[in-house]
């Protein structure tokens, strides 16, 4: 019987949750030796779990498990800039599968690839020459926490086509396997001056998703939620009806391009859910209207934060929705967000939640 597998990354290792009915869940022990994990995914192509780890002591690497978490190996072979480059790999931020490539996004901004399922890595692209790259390529701008590669959107039908996000700069698309890039930020709002000489970068894209129709994309931005109906070539803001324009996490329904989810949070220093009420917002009409989803979520003193890779949706006929918080709770909905159950309460701070259906 197929199982639903949740892979949860935290500041103190990864955790796996499995369920046959999405009601009763079993939870693993802490995995990956308690290392800080920034993103962890199950990859169906290699039937493996990958976890992007970065330790203050021992640097960055990718843990991999080929037996659903029973045993793990770690590699960082090739996952570094040349010694004379000036840039350093401070953190591995995000992972994705694109054909025969395992993509690894790092800080300082760069994309590494592995073609042997995480045993060795090589530098694929730094988006060199893109508008603004002279800023993010300057080693002086490499303070931790700034200007990394924070996400990918891959195309299951074309491994050479994918989007990436440079934190604080914007989204870029390649159609030739990262040989060349095009900024995809047309129409986005920007409440600050553009970088000198450039109008197509300087945007703060938090999370980008593509629906089952590749023309329809959505994004949660630093300022606003936005929709594209032309595969990212232009964007229209759809924030109206939400309690605020700031958030990180977002997910699109796997079978319905009109249905999309976000978790608005306060855009100040707190970055927790509005009014202390845990709420996921859903649109059924591509952003014309929004419905708050609160049934089963804490509504009193619930000052919860969710990061950009902290929400996921599965591909069951009736999709399940999942999110993990920066205070260690995991919430699950088996009915497209209509009702929620808390399946973990005391994990370390959660960086990412990934879901897959496995045999």
């Amino acid at each position: 019987m197929p199982k639903t597998l949740l892979t949860v990354a935290t500041r103190k290792g990864a955790f796996l949750f499995e369920s046959e009915d999405r009601k009763t869940w079993t939870m693993s022990e802490p995995l990956c030796e308690g290392w800080p994990i920034y993103h962890a995914i199950y990859d169906a192509k290699s039937d493996s779990i990958y976890a992007a780890a970065a330790s203050e002591w021992h640097g960055s690497g990718i843990f991999r498990s080929r037996d659903r978490g029973a045993t793990w190996e770690m590699s960082s072979e090739g996952l570094s800039y040349p010694d004379d480059d000036g840039r350093k790999v401070n953190k591995v931020s995000t992972l994705a599968r694109a054909g025969d490539r395992l993509l690894v996004g790092v800080e300082a901004p760069g994309i590494f690839e592995s073609k042997d399922n995480g045993e060795t890595f090589s530098l694929l692209s730094t988006l060199s020459g893109q508008h603004g790259s002279e800023m993010w390529d300057d080693p002086a701008n490499q303070a931790p926490g700034h200007l990394g590669i924070s996400g990918f959107v891959t195309d299951p039908d074309d491994s050479d086509n994918f989007f990436t996000i440079v934190q604080g700069v914007g989204a870029f698309e390649t159609t030739d396997g990262a040989s060349s890039w095009t900024p995809r930020n047309n129409g986005l709002r920007r409440d600050w001056p553009p970088p000198e000489n450039y109008d197509d970068v300087g945007f703060c894209v938090h999370k980008l998703v593509r629906s089952s129709d590749p023309q329809r994309m959505y994004q949660q931005n630093h300022v606003g939620v936005h929709r594209s109906d032309d595969a990212g070539q232009s964007w229209t803001e759809i924030t109206e009806g939400l309690p605020g324009d700031f958030g990180f996490a977002a997910a699109v329904h796997p079978h319905d391009t009109e249905t999309f989810y976000v978790i608005p949070v306060d855009g100040g220093h707190g970055r927790t859910m509005h009014e202390g009420k845990a709420t996921v917002y859903r649109t059924r009409d591509a952003g014309s209207s929004w419905q708050p989803l609160r049934n089963g979520l804490p509504q009193v003193d619930a000052h919860l934060g969710v990061l950009r890779q902290g929400m996921a949706i599965d591909k069951h006929d009736t999709p399940g929705l999942y999110f993990g918080t920066s205070t260690g709770q995991v919430f699950v909905s088996a009915d497209e967000g209509d009702s929620w159950t808390e399946i973990a309460s005391y994990l370390p701070s959660i960086s990412s939640v990934d879901v897959a259906i496995v045999d």
């Binding site: 002591w57 640097g59 960082s76 072979e77 570094s80 350093k88």
Partner: protein, 87 residues
């Protein structure tokens, strides 16, 4: 031969790695490279691009804080320390 002491945080990644090894090398980096030959992947856990020591890793030769190019003499003691950090 230098008497090399490694931090316990490495042990989970390299099953069987002893905390204490006898290594023939001329410098701190040479000692780490020699250990790398026996335990592939270990160098990257201690040394970043440059090469430089990772910011929260310190090395001491005979009790003196030392850089990667510090010389090792026969009988030197090399302590590789993971800084007190985190929480």
């Amino acid at each position: 031969m230098a008497d090399v002491r490694l931090p316990g945080t490495l042990s989970p990644l390299f099953p069987g790695l002893p905390r204490r090894l006898e290594i023939e090398a001329a410098t701190v980096l040479g000692a780490i490279d020699e250990i790398e030959r026996q335990w592939p992947g270990l160098r990257d856990r201690l040394v970043a691009e440059g090469p430089t020591l990772r910011p929260h890793i310190h090395t001491y030769v005979d009790g003196e804080r030392s850089a990667l190019d510090a010389p090792l003499a026969a009988g030197s003691r090399l302590d590789v320390i993971a800084a007190i950090s985190g929480g």
